[in-house]
């Protein structure tokens, strides 16, 4: 966490010297590429905001379709992240264990959803959980229930694409964490579950938070796997990105406005959460 480094940076012994951190501490070699990166990320956003037809903003942003889609997006992305954390943290823990056989292969397999075009990911979900999929068919024959075209399918698609983000960042945090605390706790008689709960979790808290943010953002923006596996029906499966894409077909201006709305809400949520973490960790 960046918050931890600032106190050390202050030079207590020289009260007369006022060194502003930015001027003296960022070398040119880093400042230039960092600025390029920042501009590269922000300028398209600026373009989006400039090009959006703000005169229509009121009508577009309060339309039933937009609000419905936004609500569905927020709910599904949040539920997805909860699932992602619940199953992803244990997976990361297993992966980070020293001496795990085939860890490299396993890690490569976990990144598959990152590499796979999301639309193909949706097809892959069909083959397993669709009405005629490996698991989906027996489920459908037994209960008459099938995932596609339900909000559950939206969540499944989001979990599928977002899980690797959390697993990789939590695994990174676990590897960076000092194992000796865990060992000390274990030698003092703590059971593995207690060690995990009382030592490991607090140590990797920031890593989990960062991974959850990535996963949430990825779930919120999920498009390809959702439109393939879940379809697109207002209020049921049409999330904000799907609404934006559809609007692009008929009314590009309102698509821009909807994108700005989605971005605004997600940035607001993340900023609020970040505030809380910094105070907690």
């Amino acid at each position: 966490m960046p918050a931890g480094t600032t106190p050390k940076a202050k030079r207590v012994g020289h009260p007369q010297v006022t060194v502003r951190p930015w001027q003296s501490r960022v070398p040119l070699l880093l400042a230039v590429p960092a600025t390029v990166a920042l501009l590269f990320l922000l300028l398209p956003l600026v373009g989006l905001v400039i090009r959006a037809p703000w005169a229509d903003a009121g009508a577009v942003l309060t339309s039933a379709g937009a609000l419905q889609a936004l609500r569905l997006s927020m709910i599904t992305a949040t539920v997805s992240v909860i699932i992602v954390v619940l199953i992803g943290v244990p997976l990361a823990w297993v992966l980070a264990r020293p001496g795990l056989r085939g860890a490299a292969l396993l890690r490569a397999l976990i990144t598959i959803p990152l590499v796979l075009p999301p639309v193909v990911g949706g097809v892959a979900l069909f083959t397993v959980l669709g009405r005629s999929g490996l698991l989906g068919r027996p489920l459908y024959e037994l209960t008459g229930f099938a995932f596609p075209f339900t909000p559950y399918a939206v969540i499944l698609a989001q979990v599928f694409v977002a899980l690797p983000f959390l697993v990789l960042s939590v695994e990174g945090a676990l590897r960076a964490a000092d194992r000796r605390y865990e060992e000390a706790a274990a030698t003092l008689g703590a059971r593995p579950v207690t060690v995990f709960r009382r030592i490991t979790l607090p140590l990797i808290g920031p890593g989990i938070a960062a991974g959850a943010v990535l996963a949430w953002a990825r779930a919120l923006g999920e498009f390809g796997a959702t439109i393939t596996f879940a379809g697109s029906f207002p209020g049921t499966t049409r999330t904000m990105p799907l609404e934006v894409y559809l609007a692009l077909e008929t009314d590009p201006g309102s698509a821009l406005l909807l994108s700005v709305l989605l971005l605004g809400v997600s940035v607001a949520v993340l900023a609020l959460l970040r505030e809380r973490w910094v105070t907690r960790w």
Partner: protein, 296 residues
């Protein structure tokens, strides 16, 4: 940089002896120069980026521009995605007949292509999947008078062998069945709405898809019992999808217009290509793909 920062910090005029002072005098200068350099670099990057933003991009199909400018007799044809196979065939035939000409195709959503043309994409012929998309181009004064060259009717697409025993359009109103339609915002969905309205059936779709391909994919994977798409789409989808004709489809026959564009650098070749599409040979290639003659 870290050392520079430290030397900055160490500068305390009262205590400094002569030697370190000389060293330190040079340090602020270099830091200043460095700062200036950084500002310059930043300014340069900013200018570059802004220049890149400001350049009026011509959103043409990237593949098209080179061909149309290099060959003296090359033309670029923008055509609706559903025309891909038949137009590639027609293009080959045309090139065989006119050896010195080259035709470059760019296929895509008619609405997207229409936007590109209005924005000034360098092209010679536009073949649209609906009169409405052609109208945006003619209204902008970018095309000559269009001619309808084919028509397309809706069919019910079902998974191979019709496992869910769909019999007709009325099955779409059965909520227990899984039905995929195109969203009303896209052409195939607009046609579906028209058919349902004229047949006085209220459909109960499970999904309103973005485009024909996505709709057909749901059918091909047997995730829906039936979908409404164009006959040509059913044919193009291959052997995983069967088509069922239905009488109500007459209520929403879609015609495809074609027109030469005002911006054309080779109007004669463009005109010849349109004539070829309208010729019996061109019509035969289109009929192979499932298109019907335009109903006038």
């Amino acid at each position: 940089m870290n050392t520079a920062a430290r030397s900055d910090v160490d500068v305390s005029p009262h205590k400094a002896t002569k030697t370190p002072l000389r060293r330190h005098r040079s340090a602020p200068v270099s830091a200043q120069a460095r700062k200036r350099m950084m500002l310059l670099a930043l300014a340069g990057i900013l200018i570059l980026l802004l220049a890149a933003c400001g350049t009026p991009t011509r959103p043409a199909a990237s593949s098209s521009s080179s061909a149309s400018s290099s060959g003296g007799r090359g033309i670029t044809v923008l055509a609706a995605a559903s025309l891909t196979e038949s137009f590639n065939q027609i293009g080959k035939d045309f090139e065989a007949k006119n050896p010195e000409t080259t035709i470059t195709f760019s296929f895509g959503s008619s609405a997207t292509l229409a936007t590109q043309i209005v924005q000034g994409a360098p092209a010679d012929v536009f073949a649209a999947a609906s009169p409405a998309t052609m109208k945006t181009v003619t209204d902008a004064g970018a095309a000559d008078t269009p001619t309808d060259f084919v028509s397309n009717t809706l069919e019910i697409a079902v998974p191979k062998g019709n496992p869910h025993k769909i019999t007709g359009l009325k099955d779409s109103a059965d909520a227990s069945r899984r039905i995929a339609l195109c969203a009303p915002q896209v052409p195939c969905g607009a046609a579906a709405v028209k058919v349902f309205t004229s047949a006085k059936i209220v459909p109960k779709p499970d999904t309103l898809e973005q485009d024909v391909k996505a709709t057909l994919q749901k059918v091909a994977h047997d995730e829906v019992d039936a979908a409404l798409v164009y006959k040509t789409d059913v044919l193009a989808a291959g052997d995983k999808v069967d088509g069922i004709e239905f009488p109500e489809a007459k209520g929403a026959i879609n015609t495809y217009p074609i027109a030469t564009l005002k911006e054309s650098k080779n109007p004669a070749v463009a005109k010849a290509f349109v004539d070829h599409v309208l010729s019996p040979e061109g019509q035969a290639a289109l009929a192979m793909a499932g298109f019907a003659k335009p109903s006038i």
